[in-house]
C-alpha cells in the first residue's frame, strides 16, 4: 500500500502550537507512507488540488490528512480523494486541531502528540477497505412535530413541494405561542391576522394530514423509512361530526375549567373551543372539569349538540404512520415565574407573565381586549415591565438570553399606551437586545414616542401595599434605588425547552443540551440538521427564537426535506457490519442486541447464521463488540483496525 500524509497548518490554528512540518517529516517513518507534505490550508482549493496531484504523481492508495476534527471536514476530503480516483473510504483523518493545537500550548508535547495521532490514522488506513454504498427506497412523506408557526411553515412548504405531510400537534389547535399573541413586533400587525390564513391553509391543504391533540409515542426506523406511532388523545367529541358551532360552550354549566389558551387568565367551560380561529375548530371536553365525566350526570352538551358529536366514552387511540423524514418544531415553554419568590409571581394576582399580558391585550382574549388587572378588574394606570425573569440568570440555572423578550416588552409598552392613553409604563432592563431589522428603531419608539421609562437595573422585590404593588429596584445608571408604585407588573418570563422535549429527543435519537434544547448538527453551517439523518429542526425547540427566525427555520427545514426527497433512492452509509459466514456459529447474540433489528438469522445448509440487512444497519458496532468470535465486523471500525490503533500507541 502507498499512503500519503498531508499535515495542515490551518494558518496559525495548528501551526501556532504544532510543528506541522516536523509532523509531516516524522510521518515518513510510518509503514507504507511514501509521501508526506505540510500545507497551509488542506481544505482550501489549492490544498485539495495538492492532495489530488500527489495521489496521481505517487500512485497513492490511501490518504491521511492531519488537520481539524473529522466531524468537520471528513466529507470534504472523502470527496477530494474520490475526485482523484480513490474509493472515498481509503481516507483517514487525524484531529490535530481540536484535540491538540487548541487545547495545549506546549509545542513539543503537541507536536509529539500530533505525530502519534497521525501514526494511528496511518495504522487504521492500512486496514481500510474500499466500501460501496447500497441504494434503498425512500418514503417521501414527512412528519412535522409541533404546529406552531415554525411547524406550520415547514408543513406548508413541504406540502407545496408536493410532499405528503403528517402534522402532529399536542394541543387541540395549531397556532402555538404565536396564536396567543395580540400584535407582533416591530410592525405591530395583528398576530392572528397574519397567522390565521396560514392555519387555514394547513387545514385545507390536500397534502397535509393534521393530528391535533396528539403526541408522538414511538419512532422506529431510519432515514427514508421511519415508522411512527402517534398517540391521539380523546377529546370526547367526534370531530368528524363536530361543526365548531360553539353551542355546547354556551350551555356548559362547568365554567371553572383551566383556560390553557388564555394562559389561565380567567377560566373557561369544560367543553371548549380555545379561540374563534382555532384549527381544527373542534370542541374538546376537559375530563378534569366535565361534570358528566367526573360525577356521571349532566350531559347537557350531548343533548344540545345539533350533530350528536359528543362521545363520553371515547378512548385515546394509537395511529401508525410511515414517513421518510421528520421535522421537530416543538417550540418552547415559559419559565415558571414563581421561582422568583421575591417577585410574588403565582402569589400576587397582579404579577403576570408577558404572555398573560398578551391575552389581556387581545381583542379575542378573556377581557375582550380591555386591559383589566386580574385581582379586581380595574384598568391599571401604572404598569411595570421586568425583563430577564428566568433569562441571563445563573442563580436559577438559566444563563442564556431568551432573545425576544426585549422586543415584546417594547411592543407591550407601546400597546399599553394605545389601550390606556393616560397610563405610564416602566421597563426594568439589564441590556436592550434588539439586533434585528427595524428592531432597535422600534425600542427607541417605545421610549421616545410612547414615553416608556426604561430603568437600567434589576428589580429586587415586589410587594403589595394597599391595592398597589411596590416595585423596588436599582437604577444602575443613576446609581440610586428606585421604587415604583404599580397597578400591574408584567414579568418577561424567559423561554425554556418545551415540556417533554428531552423525552422526544430520546425518541428521535437526537442530542439536546442541558436545558433541553435540541442540538443542531453544526451551530453555523448545519443549523437545521441534526446528527440523525432525516431529522431536522425548526423554531424554538433548537433555542429561543422570534417569529421571523422561526419561520425562516421552518422554511429551511422544509428545503432540507425537499432536497432529501428529490432523490428516488437513498444511499446507505457503507460503514456497516458484515458477517463472516465461516466464523459465525449462529448463536444469535448479535440478533438479540441489535437496536435496529438489522440482523436476521438465516439458514445456510442447515446451520443458523447471522446476516446483516445492509440498508437497515446504522453502523453502531454493538454486534461486533458482542460477538465472541468476532464473526461480525463493523466495516471501517473492525477489531483489527482498533487493535492496530492500540498497538500503534502502546507497543512502544
Amino acid at each position: 500500500m502507498k499512503i500519503g500524509v498531508f499535515v495542515c497548518h490551518c494558518g496559525s490554528n495548528i501551526g501556532g502550537t504544532v510543528d506541522a512540518a516536523r509532523v509531516a517529516e516524522a510521518s515518513r517513518e510510518f509503514p507504507d507512507v511514501v509521501f508526506t507534505s505540510d500545507t497551509m490550508y488542506a481544505c482550501s482549493e489549492p490544498g485539495q488540488d495538492g492532495i489530488i496531484q500527489a495521489i496521481k504523481d505517487n500512485q497513492l492508495d490511501g490518504v491521511v490528512v492531519s488537520s481539524c476534527t473529522p466531524r468537520m471536514h471528513e466529507p470534504t476530503f472523502r470527496r477530494t480523494v474520490e475526485r482523484a480516483g480513490l474509493n472515498r473510504f481509503m481516507f483517514e483523518m487525524a484531529n490535530i486541531r481540536e484535540h491538540v493545537s487548541w487545547i495545549g500550548k506546549d509545542k513539543e508535547a503537541n507536536t509529539n502528540k500530533a505525530i502519534e495521532l497521525t501514526g494511528i490514522a496511518v495504522e487504521k488506513l492500512r486496514r481500510d477497505q474500499p466500501l460501496f454504498a447500497k441504494q434503498f427506497d425512500i418514503n417521501k412523506r414527512v412528519l412535522v412535530i409541533g404546529g406552531g408557526v415554525a411547524g406550520i411553515q415547514a408543513a406548508l412548504d413541504c406540502a407545496d413541494g408536493d410532499r405528503e405531510v403528517v402534522l402532529v400537534e399536542r394541543e387541540s389547535t395549531i397556532g402555538g405561542k404565536m396564536a396567543k399573541l395580540d400584535k407582533t413586533f416591530p410592525t405591530v400587525d395583528c398576530s392572528s391576522c397574519i397567522l390565521g390564513p396560514k392555519m387555514v391553509d394547513v387545514a385545507q391543504h390536500p397534502k397535509i394530514q393534521l393530528y391535533a391533540m396528539a403526541e408522538v409515542e414511538e419512532i422506529g426506523g431510519y432515514v427514508g423509512n421511519y415508522e411512527v406511532k402517534i398517540r391521539r388523545k380523546a377529546p370526547y367529541v367526534n370531530w368528524d361530526l363536530c361543526t365548531g358551532c360553539g353551542l355546547c360552550m354556551e350551555k356548559c354549566p362547568s365554567k371553572k375549567s383551566t383556560d390553557r389558551f388564555n394562559e389561565q387568565v380567567g377560566s373557561t367551560t369544560a367543553i371548549n373551543i380555545p379561540f374563534p380561529q382555532a384549527i381544527p375548530k373542534k370542541a374538546v371536553i376537559d375530563p378534569k372539569f366535565c361534570i358528566k365525566l367526573t360525577k356521571g350526570k349532566c350531559g347537557i352538551c350531548a343533548k344540545i349538540c345539533p350533530t350528536k358529536a359528543i362521545v363520553f366514552d371515547q378512548r385515546e387511540e394509537i395511529i401508525s404512520e410511515s414517513v421518510g423524514a421528520i421535522v421537530a418544531a416543538t417550540g418552547y415553554d415559559l419559565f415558571d415565574i414563581s421561582k422568583y419568590g421575591e417577585y410574588g409571581g403565582g402569589r400576587l394576582p397582579d404579577v403576570i407573565t408577558g404572555l398573560q399580558y398578551e391575552r389581556l391585550l387581545s381583542a379575542s382574549g378573556p377581557t375582550g381586549g380591555h386591559v383589566k388587572r386580574p385581582s379586581d378588574g380595574k384598568e391599571p394606570k401604572t404598569i411595570v415591565f421586568v425583563q430577564c425573569v428566568g433569562s441571563r440568570d445563573k442563580s436559577v440555572d438559566r444563563p442564556y438570553c431568551s432573545g425576544f423578550c426585549c422586543m415584546y416588552t417594547a411592543k407591550q409598552a407601546i400597546l399599553t399606551k394605545d389601550h390606556i392613553p393616560d397610563s405610564s409604563s416602566y421597563v426594568f432592563y439589564m441590556d436592550i437586545r434588539s439586533p434585528g431589522k427595524m428592531y432597535d428603531e422600534f425600542t427607541r419608539r417605545a421610549m421616545e414616542e410612547y414615553g416608556t421609562q426604561y430603568v437600567r437595573g434589576r428589580v429586587s422585590m415586589i410587594y403589595p401595599q394597599g391595592d398597589k404593588l411596590m416595585v423596588r429596584g436599582a437604577d444602575t445608571l443613576m446609581g440610586t434605588q428606585v421604587e415604583v408604585e404599580a397597578d400591574l407588573v408584567v414579568l418577561a418570563a424567559g423561554a425554556e425547552a418545551a415540556v417533554g422535549a428531552p423525552q422526544l429527543a430520546e425518541k428521535l435519537r437526537i442530542s439536546y443540551d442541558k436545558y433541553g434544547f435540541f442540538m443542531e448538527s453544526h451551530p453555523k453551517l448545519r443549523p437545521v440538521e441534526t446528527n440523525t439523518a432525516g431529522v431536522y429542526l425548526a423554531g424554538s425547540c433548537q433555542g429561543p427564537k422570534d417569529i421571523p427566525a422561526s419561520v425562516a427555520q421552518g422554511s429551511a427545514a422544509a428545503a432540507k426535506v425537499l432536497a432529501l426527497f428529490a432523490k428516488d433512492k437513498l444511499e446507505n452509509d457503507p460503514m456497516i457490519s458484515l458477517v463472516d459466514m465461516k466464523r459465525c456459529v449462529g448463536c444469535g447474540k448479535c440478533v438479540r442486541v441489535c437496536p435496529f433489528g438489522a440482523i436476521k438469522e438465516i439458514d445456510v445448509r442447515g446451520e443458523p447464521k447471522a446476516e446483516v440487512i445492509e440498508t437497515v444497519c446504522q453502523g453502531c458496532g454493538l454486534c461486533t463488540a458482542t460477538c465472541p468470535q468476532g464473526a461480525i465486523q463493523l466495516s471501517h471500525f473492525t477489531d483489527n483496525q482498533i487493535l492496530a490503533e492500540v498497538n500503534a500507541l502502546c507497543q512502544l
Binding site: L622, T626, C650
Partner: protein
C-alpha cells in the same frame, strides 16, 4: 514514537463519535486547555467498545484508559451505551483480580455540548493516572518485529 519520557504517561481514550468525540471537539473550539497525555481513538458508539479493547490496551502498556460515550438515554444509536455501561462496569470490577488498579480505567458520559465537562474529565483522569504512576509491565516486550506488525 517515543512517549515524552518523564513528562507524559500513556493514556488512551475510546470515544463515541456522536457525543464524547464531539464534546472533545467542543472543548477544543472553546480552547479549554487540557493535559497532553490522552490519545483518542474514535469509534462510532460506546457500544462498539468491547471491554477487551481496554484489557488489550492496559496489557500492552497503557497507564490509563478512558472510555466516554453519550449520556444514558441519549445514545445516537438508542441503546449502545446501555450495553456498554454493563460491560464496562463488569470489566472495571474485574481489574482488581488481574492485579491492575481499577482507577486506571474509567468510563463516563460526555455530550457533544459539554466541552467544559470534557476538560474536567480529561484533567481529573490525567491527574489520577499521574498519581498512580506508570503501570506495571510484563517485561520482555521485545522489539516489535516489522514483519509481524505488517500482518496484524
Amino acid at each position: 514514537m517515543p512517549a515524552l519520557a518523564g513528562k507524559e504517561l500513556r493514556i488512551v481514550g475510546f470515544l463515541c463519535n456522536w457525543c464524547s468525540y464531539g464534546g472533545a471537539d467542543t472543548a477544543g473550539v472553546g480552547r479549554f486547555s487540557q493535559p497532553t497525555d490522552l490519545r483518542i481513538i474514535r469509534v462510532p458508539c460506546s457500544g462498539r467498545i468491547n471491554p477487551l479493547f481496554v484489557a488489550k490496551t492496559l496489557l500492552s502498556g497503557a497507564d490509563g484508559v478512558l472510555v466516554s460515550g453519550c449520556h444514558p438515554r441519549d445514545c445516537h444509536y438508542a441503546e449502545g451505551n446501555f450495553y456498554a455501561r454493563r460491560r464496562l462496569e463488569v470489566f472495571k470490577r474485574f481489574l482488581p483480580t488481574m492485579g491492575i488498579d481499577p482507577d486506571r480505567f474509567e468510563y463516563t458520559w460526555v455530550s457533544a455540548s459539554e466541552g467544559q465537562r470534557w476538560q474536567k474529565v480529561v484533567t481529573t483522569f490525567t491527574e489520577q493516572i499521574h498519581k498512580l504512576g506508570p503501570a506495571p509491565r510484563f517485561g520482555f516486550a521485545h522489539e516489535q518485529n516489522p514483519a509481524t506488525a505488517a500482518a496484524c
